[in-house]
């Protein structure tokens, strides 16, 4: 989740003109309104499905389906103060949860699915004509997980330069019950994630604006996934009924470093073709000290069909190198504490995403988005969301 700063003026409302306005970028939590008493309700239903048909990690079924409703309320209480409250719920059905649930005699054996509940509140204050202050707090819960988040930032308009600069600091404090791949509880642990970011919105020409930024994250604590296992293959072993295709091997706990530093440099530029069409190019370069280097590039085309229908289509190319601890295959029993993972999200792969999004209506606004992601390891993903928003 990323909660950063609201743009300085009412770009969200889609008003045309307002030439004095600095429109701000997408680093937004909460929305900015020029009218006191203005706001909105929105309801969104998201669906995400990953279908593992024997691809990715060869020993584990990585299928997962998530249904996520999100309710948001946003209100501009005064000229200088507004807030945004968001409730999130996830219903997760995954092969990993089913595996745990099938283990008799464990305290988690009754878990037939995972329910995630989250609440986040964000508050925005206008300190002056040029300066906004935002802060947020939130919490989320799952049966094996609790997270508390806190953060804030400040943005300042540089009027002669047509720019908005923002600096933000976000922290998450997570507590995790270590329920392992075999359903056995291994106590609990915690992790802390602190992200500092700096972003820059810039008007580049009368028809072009862009946003650029840098984020630096430091994580400490338990950073592995407790339900993940590493399988050490041995043809001499008996077939293992817990593994896909009854493979011959033995599961070992995943072990990953207890600290991680991530750096991401990103940017996007949008250019108006005319009043009803625009193009955008976004990209990001990422590296961390686990050995992953990633790059993505996202061109996007946006078109308005009439006063109330907005449509976009996008393509995203993504590539990453594998983490140092990753291996597709293990044949030797690891040394105690040796870092190891077979998590396909930490593998070397690239992906192509095709997505489209349509939005229609004015005060009562509807939208539908559909994305399909194709990975080089054939672990494809489908996700879509349907939203309704009522402004007042």
């Amino acid at each position: 989740m990323g909660f950063v700063l609201a743009p300085l003026a009412g770009a969200q409302d889609g008003q045309v003109g307002e030439p004095e306005t600095l429109f701000g970028g997408s680093n937004t939590f909460g929305e900015s309104h020029t009218d006191v008493g203005a706001g909105y309700w929105s309801v969104r239903l998201g669906f995400y499905d990953k279908d593992d048909q024997g691809v990715g990690n060869p020993f584990v079924d990585e299928s997962v389906t998530v249904i996520e409703p999100v309710i948001t309320f946003d209100y501009q209480a005064s000229e200088d103060f507004g807030y945004n409250i968001q409730l999130q719920y996830d219903n997760v059905s995954s092969a990993s949860i089913e595996r745990i649930a099938s283990v008799p005699g464990t305290e988690e054996s009754g878990a037939s699915g995972d329910n995630y509940v989250g609440i986040a509140a964000s508050f925005r204050h206008r300190l002056s004509e040029q300066t906004n202050l935002n802060w947020h707090a939130g919490a989320s819960f799952e049966y094996d997980y609790f997270s508390a988040g806190l953060g804030g930032g400040i943005s300042r308009a540089l009027e002669p330069q047509d720019a908005v600069i923002s600096a933000n600091l976000n922290a998450y404090f997570d507590s995790i019950d270590l329920i392992r791949w075999d359903g056995v509880s291994d106590g609990d642990d915690d992790r802390t994630s602190i992200t500092g970011s700096f972003s820059w919105y810039q008007v580049l020409s009368p028809t072009t604006h862009g946003e650029f930024g840098l984020s630096l994250t430091s994580q400490t604590g338990f950073l592995a996934t407790p339900i993940n296992a590493v399988v050490v293959e041995d043809p001499g072993d008996a077939p293992n009924p817990n593994l896909a295709n009854n493979a011959r091997g033995t599961e070992w706990d995943e072990v990953l470093p207890d600290s991680r530093t991530r750096i991401a440099l990103y940017g996007k530029v949008r250019r108006s073709i005319n009043d009803f069409r625009a193009m955008e190019l976004g990209g990001r370069v990422y590296t961390d000290d686990w050995g992953i280097t990633a790059f993505d590039l996202t061109p996007k085309y946006i078109q308005q069909f009439d006063n109330s229908v907005l449509w976009d289509v996008r393509y995203r190319y993504y590539t990453q190198s594998e983490a140092d601890a990753y291996s597709e295959s293990f044949t030797v029993d690891p040394i105690s504490g040796e870092e190891r993972t077979q998590d396909s999200e930490l593998a070397d792969f690239d992906s192509h995403l095709l997505g489209t999004h349509v939005q229609w209506g004015r005060h009562s606004q509807w939208d539908f988005g559909l994305d399909y992601l194709m990975r080089s390891d054939d672990l494809d993903h489908l996700f879509f969301s349907f939203g309704w928003k009522r402004s007042f």
Binding site: Y116, E142, S147, S197, I263, W290, F383
Partner: protein, 74 residues
């Protein structure tokens, strides 16, 4: 003037970099306010998309995203 005054150099870098961008007159900015030019999106959609990408990819952090925390693993 001390070379080691980092605040001064930071100010110079900031102002210099921003001043190097062409200033667009206020009456020329109308195109930037059309609906197709709005780069921000619904916060519920942002939450949904970021959470998915966080669970799919090894890289996290970037536009609108805090890398890590706030999400259990599937």
């Amino acid at each position: 003037m001390k070379i080691g005054n980092w605040k001064m150099w930071a100010c110079f870098a900031l102002v210099g970099a921003s001043a190097s961008c062409n200033t667009v007159e206020f009456y020329e900015k109308g195109d930037l306010g059309t609906p197709v030019m709005i780069m921000s999106q619904d916060t519920g959609l942002t939450h949904f998309e970021q959470k998915i990408m966080y669970s799919i990819e090894g890289a996290a952090g970037g536009v609108g995203a805090a890398a890590g925390g706030g999400c259990g693993c599937y």
